[in-house]
């Protein structure tokens, strides 16, 4: 089976939350970029499928500025992905345009054999959750987001997965090629062995250059402001002698002060 996983470099959890000097985005000065969250699960799921179906190949693809994008591609190689493709991006400073990302990734994915394209359900920073289906649309494949319990049935050549809705869990089956946004892998993500980390440092990355991409409207959606909430001042304490008194006071505050009582 031919699997492609698309990942996005995101600033790691240690990154200090503060606006950049121009006030438009998170300040990424000095930030370390990592493979994280749902993307990490997507890589894990791809590797689980590879383990289950001998002869499978997992190719990882990422679009973005070279330095940080290379970091996450090498991290994915260290975990066991077979090849990595870096898709060159135009300057993206304030871009928040999902179309551009989907079209750039689609151009790269089209060059690779694929039965399954796996993506995290949403990115760890912007959390928009649009890319999986945007990519499916750009590739002209069926696409679903929020997949769980993904398996492959080699005799019928069908992917089976669950898809959560408000009312419950839908069970789906779909032949490849299909694009899936992954909610959860079957395992906690594995960690890379030191020896594989060292090997991944020396690996050659495939490149898709800007010239090979369609025209991208990266300025179609742009970040204009990044704001932190005013610090919460801490709880207003309810003083009471009996539980009944606490209840009466709280209900009154919710009604009269917070105005959220139904």
């Amino acid at each position: 089976m031919e699997i492609v996983v698309c990942v996005k470099p995101v600033p790691d959890a240690e990154t200090k939350l503060r606006p950049a000097p121009d006030g438009r985005t998170l300040d990424l000065e000095g930030a370390k970029f990592v493979l994280a969250g749902y993307d990490e699960s997507a890589v894990e799921q791809a590797l689980l499928l590879k383990d289950a179906v001998p002869g499978s190949t997992v190719r990882v693809v990422s679009f973005g500025p070279p330095g940080r994008t290379e970091e996450v591609l090498r991290a994915a190689l260290a975990l066991g992905c077979d090849t990595a493709t870096l898709v060159e991006s135009p300057p993206l400073a304030h871009s928040a345009d999902v179309r551009s990302v989907a079209r750039a990734l689609a151009a790269a994915v089209k060059k690779l054999p694929h039965d399954l394209v796996l993506v995290g359900k949403q990115s760890g920073d912007s959390e928009a959750g649009m890319l999986p289906t945007a990519l499916a649309q750009a590739l002209g494949h069926p696409g679903f987001n929020g997949a769980v319990e993904l398996k492959f049935d080699p005799t019928q050549k069908l992917f089976t997965f669950g898809r959560a809705s408000e009312a419950g869990l839908e069970r789906w089956e779909c032949p490849g090629p299909v694009v899936l946004g992954l909610q959860q892998a079957g395992n906690d993500p594995r960690t890379a062995k030191l020896q594989n980390i060292l090997k991944s440092r020396r690996a050659t990355l495939d490149k898709v250059s800007l010239a090979e991409l369609p025209t991208l409207d990266v300025a179609g959606a742009t970040a204009e402001a990044f704001q932190l909430p005013p610090p919460r001042t801490g709880a207003k304490w309810i003083e009471y002698k009996t539980p009944e008194e606490a209840a009466t006071k709280l209900v009154r505050l919710l009604k009269e002060e917070a105005k959220v009582f139904p």
Binding site: Q137, P142, A235, E244
Partner: protein, 326 residues
């Protein structure tokens, strides 16, 4: 400058998902006096009534049985047909799981700028400005959606739904979407969530959530009774779902659901960061915990320090009394 806006309604068995009604309010802001049409694919008669009286100027209804499968390749062509008939420049949806799937596909298919989880929306001559929580609700990002077309999925509870009007807007039937070749894949089963009677967790305007402080599954009814008295949805910390007291669908947090209700009541929950990122953007937070040093109190608006086994029954009784007396 006014513009035509299309609202995609998301049906549920009993009508429309509440955030679709709120999407009409957002659409009116974006329209600046222009027409606000609705499109409904595969909804019940109740959904048609609710939508057509919910503040739209016209409603397009598509009734093909295949819409029930909720897949982008069925819905996108039909939505685009409605957008074309209404000459819409903006499409507004509810930012539910499926709403976000549609937003992504529409961005590419309609060649539009798009945003999800939108909590504010301001039309200007330079484009549509929208705000949404990012980084687990720890920050807000403001985007400009430029260009001739925009797709906006709005976060539940961010825009109040317009009042229902006595008069229904004209309803037209949307001729079946252009024939698609047989689509790969099919839905082969459905497992309904364990009968939770109350509102849906992700979109409820009030959530009462319980944690390990409840000590045992047989005590969880204390949380459920308070929720019922308030008309609230029930949530839980991961300690509760991991222990199997409640199914995973109840879990709020980084690896569970993100919620942003008007009121969130955390009971016996310590406030680990992985829980907080799923509920921090709630408007008003109440914490009930026996430990005054619990981190949950740092982000709560109202704190009650004490034993939940004494406090919850008293609070449920008081809520019932207050609601009965209006």
């Amino acid at each position: 400058m006014s513009r035509s806006v299309l609202v995609v309604g998301e049906p549920r068995p009993t009508g429309l998902v509440p955030a679709s009604r709120e999407a009409v309010a957002a659409a009116r802001l974006a329209a600046e006096g222009g027409a606000v049409a609705g499109v409904l694919l595969g909804g019940s008669p109740e959904a048609v009534t609710e939508f057509s009286r919910g503040g739209v100027t016209g409603l397009w209804v598509g009734s093909d049985a295949s819409y029930a499968e909720r897949r982008i390749d069925r819905w996108v062509p039909a939505i685009l047909a409605a957008a074309k008939s209404t000459e819409s420049e903006v499409i507004v949806l509810a930012s539910t799981g499926f709403g976000r799937e549609l937003a992504g596909a529409l961005a590419v298919a309609w060649d539009a700028a798009a945003a999800t989880s939108v909590t504010e929306l301001t039309p200007t001559d330079e484009g549509l400005f929208v705000a949404m929580p990012v980084l687990g609700g720890r920050a807000t990002s403001k985007l400009r959606l430029a260009g001739p077309r925009a797709v906006v999925a709005i976060r539940p509870n961010a825009f109040g739904a317009p009042a229902m009007s006595g008069e229904a807007a004209p309803v037209e039937s949307l001729s079946a979407a252009p024939p698609t070749p047989t689509l790969a894949g099919r839905r082969v089963g459905f497992e309904a969530n364990a009968a939770s009677q109350g509102p849906d967790l992700s979109s409820a305007s009030i959530v009462v959530a319980g944690g390990r402080g409840l000590r045992a599954p047989e005590n969880f009814h204390l949380v459920e009774e308070l929720a019922e008295a308030l008309g609230a949805a029930v949530g839980a910390s991961r300690a509760v779902t991991d222990a199997g007291w409640k199914p995973g669908t109840y879990q709020v947090g980084q690896t569970g659901r993100s919620v942003s209700p008007q009121l969130y009541i955390a009971v016996g929950i310590s406030g680990a960061i992985q829980h907080l990122v799923g509920m921090m953007s709630s408007r008003v937070i109440v914490a009930i915990n026996s430990d005054p040093g619990a981190p949950i109190f740092k982000i709560a608006d109202y704190g009650v320090v004490g034993d939940l086994f004494l406090l919850l029954p008293a609070l449920t009784a008081e809520v019932r009394k207050a609601r009965a007396s209006g």
